[in-house]
């Protein structure tokens, strides 16, 4: 029993409330927002340290014993995800200071931002499928408003697509939760794992597994459910895009990993085979989609889809090494992808456009920024010694060990195409001479304030640190994977040794 687990949810909630009260005092609200994000980072680091040294932490609300009460569970995977939320949350909170306009701030941007973080942390920490649904909805409501806030035409159009697909996913998720409760009589994930290991309703479980795969697959933008992502992620302000890109789809991936290592492991030849096929197709469609795009954020949006495939590939292999690869890849990807979007925002500010045709010559005017861009870009493509290389290497090794030749070949091929896209961004935005017509560059500015550059540098430093210190980080990922491969640890931590009954 540890009340520490609830802090990553309470801190953003408290911050959001204080932000609400300081709505009329802009400077104070901005300070509160950053301080709250910094506190979240500190709390999440503390949680990971505690989980790492003392094992899985469980909090039972009101001391009601599981599976009857509300439980919050932090195993290594959840704690790692919460720490990543903390890192991204702080970086984007600082970045927002320099990039979100006053009108959006006046309409509650900071409050919504922290509600979003609360939903994300809640989804990672809950030990209960229905609370996972509730956390999803908290997160979605905040993201809906953040996406549409400002009311530009593209935002509203993107918003309609995003809202529709996510509501559809929620409806499927809710139906699956209902049927699961009907056959198992519980929604506590540890209790479900125990019930699943006893083999209840063997003919219904595969159906439910597919329903959950669809529901979480839509959230994670898995093939063939990814269409909403490249249609909406490039429309809101950059800071919002960045936090969506870094965190939201990863909540879907987390939910997939949780459900398909804990509950639906009985028929893994079917379910995980399906996941593996979806992973391969996700990688290919994402990267090919990106190759066809000529807009900075749209290229990056398609790459989110492609990278989701890698994370899910490790889950599909379902070997300890594969899962470790997935966890490592999640750690690497959240930081890198957020950073690429943040750089994209600076590029837009400097060049006055998102479109690669209108950009150029930034290497001449901002050589330092251009070099910083290379860190996340090369890491995404998997160039050693950056973090992406190790993530891909572990996944490829796991693929070869599991003799999944097809998906491994796809993973290798896709990383080459990723390099092509990153080179395209570099060439078009930084290397080629600036376009001479100057019409689009009217609103361009020459300076990069520290609130924008600071988060980019910080995240780049994290990427380099994860790359150079890959040994300890990989150790952590393998320990998380070991916990995932042995659901009995999770069950014992939540229900007590041997289960309740």
């Amino acid at each position: 029993m540890s009340s520490f687990v609830v802090l990553p949810i309470l801190v953003p909630l408290g911050t959001a409330i204080v932000c609400l009260f300081t709505q009329r005092r802009r400077a104070l609200q901005r300070a509160v927002s950053v301080a709250g994000a910094a506190l979240l980072l500190a709390v999440s680091a503390g949680l990971l340290a505690r989980v790492s040294s003392e094992g899985i932490q469980v909090m039972r609300a009101g001391a009601w014993p599981a599976p009857f009460g509300i439980t919050l569970v932090a195993d290594l995977l959840a704690a790692i995800m919460v720490l990543l939320t903390g890192i991204t949350g702080l970086a984007v909170a600082v970045y927002s200071l320099g990039s979100i306009d006053e009108r959006r701030e006046a309409h509650g941007y900071h409050t919504l931002y922290h509600v979003l973080l609360m939903g994300v942390c809640g989804a990672f920490l809950t030990g209960d499928l229905f609370n996972l649904y509730v956390s999803f909805e908290v997160m979605l409501m905040a993201s809906f408003v953040l996406l549409a806030l400002g009311g530009e035409r593209a935002q509203l159009e993107g918003g309609v697509k995003y809202v529709t697909l996510n509501l559809l996913s929620s409806a499927v998720f809710l139906a699956a939760v209902g049927v699961l409760y009907g056959i198992a009589g519980t929604l506590n994930m540890a209790d479900l794992a125990r019930a699943a290991s006893l083999g209840i309703a063997p003919d219904l479980v595969p159906v439910l597994a597919v329903l959950f795969l669809v529901a979480f697959g839509i959230k994670a933008a898995l093939f063939p459910f990814f269409f909403w992502l490249p249609a909406s992620y490039h429309t809101p302000p950059i800071a919002v895009s960045a936090v969506f890109a870094g965190l939201l789809t990863k909540v879907g991936v987390y939910a997939l990993i949780r459900a398909f290592t804990l509950i639906f492991i009985g028929d893994s030849a079917f379910t995980h085979g399906l996941i593996l096929i979806a992973a391969a197709l996700t990688m290919v469609t994402g990267v090919l989609g990106a190759a066809a795009q000529m807009e900075f954020r749209r290229v990056l949006s398609f790459h989110i889809v492609s990278q989701i495939g890698y994370m899910v590939m490790g889950l599909g292999l379902l070997t300890p090494l594969g899962l470790a690869g997935s966890v490592f890849y999640l750690m690497h990807h959240i930081v890198v992808k957020t950073n690429l979007f943040l750089v994209g925002g600076i590029v837009r500010r400097l060049g006055g456009s998102d479109h690669l045709k209108d950009l150029g010559g930034l290497y001449r005017s901002q050589p330092f920024l251009a070099l910083v861009f290379l860190v996340p870009a090369f890491s995404l493509a998997g160039i050693p010694p950056l973090s992406g290389f190790w993530g891909k290497m572990v996944l490829v090794k796991a693929g070869l060990e599991a003799e999944a030749w097809g998906v491994t070949a796809v993973a290798l091929g896709v990383s080459l195409l990723t390099l092509y896209s990153m080179t395209k961004l570099w060439n078009e935005a930084f290397w080629k001479p600036a376009p001479t017509d100057g019409g689009a560059g009217a609103e361009a500015t020459a300076s990069v304030p520290l609130t924008l550059l600071g988060p980019v540098l910080g995240l780049a430093a994290v990427t380099v640190a994860v790359g150079l210190g890959a040994g300890p980080v990989f150790d952590l990922a393998s320990r998380a994977a070991a916990q995932l491969s042995d659901p009995s640890q999770y069950v014992a931590a939540v229900l007590g040794p041997g289960g309740l009954r």
């Binding site: 229905f130 809906f144 509203l156 309609v160 809710l174 939760v177 209902g178 056959i183």
Partner: protein, 119 residues
């Protein structure tokens, strides 16, 4: 009773999916609402229908006497209804704003985000 509800749920799903696949934004929102209702009724029905009885331990008793309904699905449905209400209210405002901005109800003409210039 279960059979009747099963048919109602099936009809709601069918109607919801049909509306979601139309091109009109208004029908889209109605379709999503129907899908939400279908999911709620599904939870309610799958949880088991029991007529009469309340899941409250009577005075002087140690435990519940059957027949009693399971209160958990009802609590789940209640939560889901509240969430669904909030989400649908937001969705309605969103399509109103989208309609004001784009001047159309046709989902197929929302091409701005695909890189096409606004008409």
């Amino acid at each position: 009773m279960t059979l009747v509800l099963a048919i109602v749920i099936g009809l709601l799903y069918a109607a919801g999916l049909y509306l979601v696949m139309r091109r009109s934004m208004v029908k889209l929102i109605f379709g999503l609402a129907l899908l939400g209702h279908a999911a709620n009724l599904l939870i309610f029905t799958v949880g088991g229908l029991v007529r009469g009885g309340t899941p409250i331990v009577a005075p002087g008793q140690e435990s519940l006497l059957p027949p009693y309904p399971d209160p958990v699905p009802e609590a789940l449905v209640l939560t889901a209804i509240v969430i669904g209400f909030a989400v649908q209210a937001f969705a309605l405002v969103l399509i109103k704003r989208a309609h004001q901005e784009t001047g159309t109800d046709d989902l197929d003409s929302l091409r701005c985000t695909d890189g096409a210039p606004p008409p």
